[in-house]
């Protein structure tokens, strides 16, 4: 639409006209590089999962086509054959399609960064392009954002414009993982600071955003990330130059940090009209599905059948009830509101269905209650089943009197026996859980910071991480030994440890824990394990004093203190005979101001999880130390005021 319009614009300068004659291009990444939808996405790639009975990638392509994109590059990694087949059979690959779709597959992509580096290597994009993921659902008209972006690019400063939607913080279509706080210049809409909130209540802003020369800037928390970006061709080059940029987040932070050097700027486009959201996890799947059924994404509504597939059309009735062709409803059944039923599905008698989406060719028995249920194709549900806020995938057989509580997932081809009740959050799949680790040689790097749920990450890192940590530990030990022999200053030690951190790709938290462990084990390394507690203490304390600056470099925030304490605890749990020495160690660390009393008290009162650690805390000496600490704290708080 918009690019045809630009062709007819009165081109004043010939270059401008040439530029505008270029077709608008888009890069669509049909892989999310994370495992939010496991184990469902083991059988079907995420881009082909049905959202209101239409594959997710169809929504994205429709959004791109209606906003005037004429050439799209679809990059697939996981299960690329299925995506390719789907696209070749869809309306996007017909010769009459205004949007030409090129499908590029490779098994080597591990992140957004890899894809963009490939784009740069193959020089696929000639001009500004739109960057989206394959699971974005939107009806925003990007042409205005594109014009603004082009105006800024003319002055050679804007590298990327991110499209955001205004929405208040509690809205259910806001993904918690993507929650951002942005500081931006009000007039030019330039991004000054970009930070993910990650559920924190207090945030820090650097002072330089106040000194940017513009007199009006805003800090906004009411933005919903649509994951649509308008990029200039430099973006691909910048990704190639900085090969450690893996996600869009890295890129934005990198640009903001290096701004003075390179002069690149990132801008925001905040829209009030239109809808845009990304289905990044099951919560978002729920919200976006219900928004689709409630017609927020008009004209991409279920009865519009925008994919032009035979038999896909349905009828829209009162209260947002959509029925496909050949649907039969039993006697006394009610479809209350916001229900979408696919074709040739039959529903039994006395059922109650609300806020649900049912796929094609399903059979539902009598007396079934479905509330916020997402049921895909070819599912057979027997009588007296109740499903609440769950996803049931293709080919599942649910037998009689099953109750699925909230947030359950039944993956492909599962059979659930009669008279069962599944507790909240159950995932049932045909795939064995251990199978996951074999497939995974490299880590996947994704945009989503996991908030408080580190299970997935540790599983992924499992076999690889252990070896790396051990090697790192040995290296640190070597560094400290050399430090002692050659009397190397603490600054240099910190430098060496930092470089090891980058070389082995260890997180800061682990660096600090391993450092603690190595230092505490140092006397054992030197003199063997047959030391008595007093000998151990005698050897250790001077080391602690000498290396306290190194510790202080790594232990800065409250969380670091707790991590260090847990490392200390872990060590002394292993070395049970030396538990008496622990008190002295803690005392010393406190006096050297490596650890704070608040942290120690918190660790003591809150941290006991296993029997052994509880036993540890009952140690006499330790209890005396804690008592002393509390008195000291009271005194100092009295004196302090």
């Amino acid at each position: 639409m918009s690019s045809r319009g630009t062709k007819q614009k009165k081109g004043n300068v010939t270059n401008e006209q040439e530029e505008e004659d270029q077709p608008l291009q888009a890069v669509l990444i049909a892989d999310s590089f994370n495992r939010r939808f496991f184990p469902i996405s083991k059988d079907q790639p995420r881009a082909l999962l049905p959202l209101a009975n239409v594959a997710m990638i169809d929504y994205t392509l429709e959004f791109l086509t209606s906003t005037g994109v004429q050439e799209t590059f679809v990059f697939c990694c996981w299960m690329s054959n299925k995506i390719k087949d789907h696209l070749l059979n869809s309306k996007w690959c017909r010769p009459t399609s205004p949007n030409v779709v090129h499908i590029i597959t490779s098994d080597l992509y591990r992140s957004l960064g890899d894809v963009l580096r490939d784009v740069d290597a193959k020089t696929l994009v000639r001009n500004d392009f739109i960057l989206v993921y394959g699971d974005v659902v939107s009806n925003i008209d990007v042409s205005q954002a594109l014009q603004e972006h082009r105006r800024k690019v003319d002055k050679n400063i804007s590298v990327m414009t991110m499209v955001f939607k205004e929405s208040s913080p509690g809205h259910k279509s806001r993904c918690e993982e993507d929650d951002v706080i942005v500081a931006m210049d009000s007039k030019s809409k330039r991004v000054l600071h970009y930070q993910k909130t990650q559920g924190l209540k207090k945030l820090q802003f650097p002072m330089n955003i106040f000194q940017h020369g513009s007199d009006e800037f805003e800090i906004r928390h009411d933005l919903l990330d649509c994951h649509i970006s308008i990029c200039s061709p430099q973006v691909a080059e910048l990704f190639t130059d900085n090969f450690d940029y893996q996600t869009r987040n890295d890129f934005v932070r990198g640009i903001l940090v290096n701004e003075e050097i390179l002069g690149n700027q990132i801008h925001l486009y905040v829209t009030n009209e239109g809808y845009g959201a990304r289905v990044s996890n099951l919560q978002m799947y729920d919200s976006v599905s219900s928004d689709l059924v409630r017609r927020w994404v008009y004209p991409l509504t279920p009865e519009a059948n925008f994919t032009d597939q035979r038999g896909q059309g349905c009828a829209h009735s009162r209260h947002n009830v959509y029925r496909g062709a050949g649907v039969s409803l039993g006697h006394g059944s009610q479809m209350e509101e916001n229900v979408l039923i696919g074709r040739d599905t039959s529903i039994g008698a006395n059922c109650h269905i609300s806020n649900s989406i049912i796929g094609n060719y399903c059979t539902i028995g009598d007396n079934v209650v479905l509330d916020r249920a997402y049921i895909w194709n070819n599912v057979h549900i027997s009588n007296k089943v109740k499903i609440h806020q769950s996803v049931v995938c293709d080919g599942v057989l649910v037998k009689e009197a099953v109750l699925l509580n909230k947030q359950c997932v039944l993956a492909y081809n599962v059979v659930i026996g009669p008279n069962m009740s599944l507790p909240e959050g159950t995932v049932v799949s045909m795939h064995h859980p251990e199978e996951e680790e074999d497939d995974d040689d490299d880590e996947f790097l994704s945009d989503d910071q996991v908030v408080g749920n580190s299970k997935d990450k540790t599983k992924q890192k499992g076999p690889v991480c252990v070896c790396v940590c051990l090697v790192f530990q040995l290296e640190v030990l070597g560094t400290l030994q050399r430090g002692e022999e050659e009397n190397i200053g603490c600054d240099n030690l910190v430098l060496e440890i930092n470089s090891l951190k980058y070389a082995y790709n260890i997180t800061l938290k682990e660096v600090m824990q391993i450092l603690t462990k190595v230092v505490l084990e140092y006397p054992f390394q030197q003199q063997g394990t047959k030391l008595s507690s007093s000998q151990y203490t005698v050897l250790l304390l001077p080391l602690l004093k000498k290396w306290s600056p190194v510790f202080k470099n790594y232990i800065k925030r409250a969380q670091d203190h707790l991590d260090c304490l847990s490392a200390v605890e872990e060590l002394f749990l292993e070395q049970e005979t030396h538990q008496t020495a622990m008190v002295k160690v803690l005392m010393n660390m406190y006096q050297l101001e490596i650890l704070e009393e608040d942290a120690i008290l918190k660790w003591f009162s809150a941290g006991a999880t296993t029997d052994k650690s509880r036993q540890l805390r009952k140690n006499q000496g330790l209890q005396k130390f804690i008592q002393w600490l509390k008195e000291a704290e009271d005194e100092s708080s009295e004196e302090g005021e």
């Binding site: 004209p299 059309g313 829209h316 039993g330």
Partner: protein, 375 residues
Amino acid sequence: ENYHISWQDSRNRSETTLNNMPGADKETDLSERIEAFLADLKRGGSGTGPLRGSGEMARETTALLRRITAQARWSSAGDLMEIIRNEGRRMTAAQPSETTVGNMVRRVLKIIREEYARSRGSSEETDQQESLHKLLTSGGLSEENFRQHFASLKANVIEAINELLTELEGTTDNIAMQALEHIHSNEVIMTIGRSRTVEAFLKDAARKRKFHVIVAECAPFCQGHEMATSLSKAGIETTVIADAAIFAVMSRVNKVIIGTQTVLANGGLRAVNGTHTLALAAKHHSTPLIVCAPMFKLSPQFPNEEEIFHKFVSPHEVLPFTEGEILSKVNVHCPVFDYVPPELITLFISNIGGNAPSYIYRLMSELYHPEDHEL
């Protein structure tokens, strides 16, 4: 016991492409245009009613049908009618609320029938609709299968479609020419929302007469504001009121002149939401309600087809997205159209003159053949 309530899938019959045509460059160009038109239909009207006016839609449809007649392969009138019918079904399925598309398809089908009849030499009168008299006297149904080939049929049909296009272009002017008969000096006229036909009508009268216009803003799209701006630029004294004030102000109004999206087969209207309120208030005060609608808006549809009568767009206009949490607890609907029953309407002004609502059925039989009512 199961009662089966299944939905007749009449729409899916239409999802055949032009695959039965052997491909040539002209064919692909034609299919591309049709696909582009269908895509525009599906996407058009995102929110504030159709992005283009009905007049433009009618002209585009007719131009497309003319192109199909010129470029598609057909050997007899029956083939051509079949092709046009198929494409017509697809187009009406793409956007059921856009009835002008279907109306134009039916007009073209009627044109083909007429041209065929003329080529065959039989007079135009005999092939009109089936009446009881004809059934009794003709001794069996005349099997008219349109299979005869006439060389000049294509040229004749295209010429007739060109005439239709000329007629379409002149409708607004034709209606505006009648303005002076209906609007007198110092009258207060009320209207709602934005209608290009009514705008032209009022502007034409304003050249010679002085009168006041009250425009109801027509929430939630508030197109009345644009109407008021445009009218005041032409020098007409305009007042904008909220929809809730319609009844209060009605006692001071002499006439109500409105436009509409569709005129239904029973003489009722499918107009922008808020029109029913206006019509009821006018009836209560016995104020005449005049509808300015060109003939191409007349549709053989009746208002009982619940599922395709209404168009619901994004609830954003009613309760914006930024409201936050409340949206997950509340159902919000934003309908675009209203039904106005024929009893509330006084007069229809169209390009062929003024008519009473009870006469609409007759006009329809002149425009469309009864077999084409169901595409």
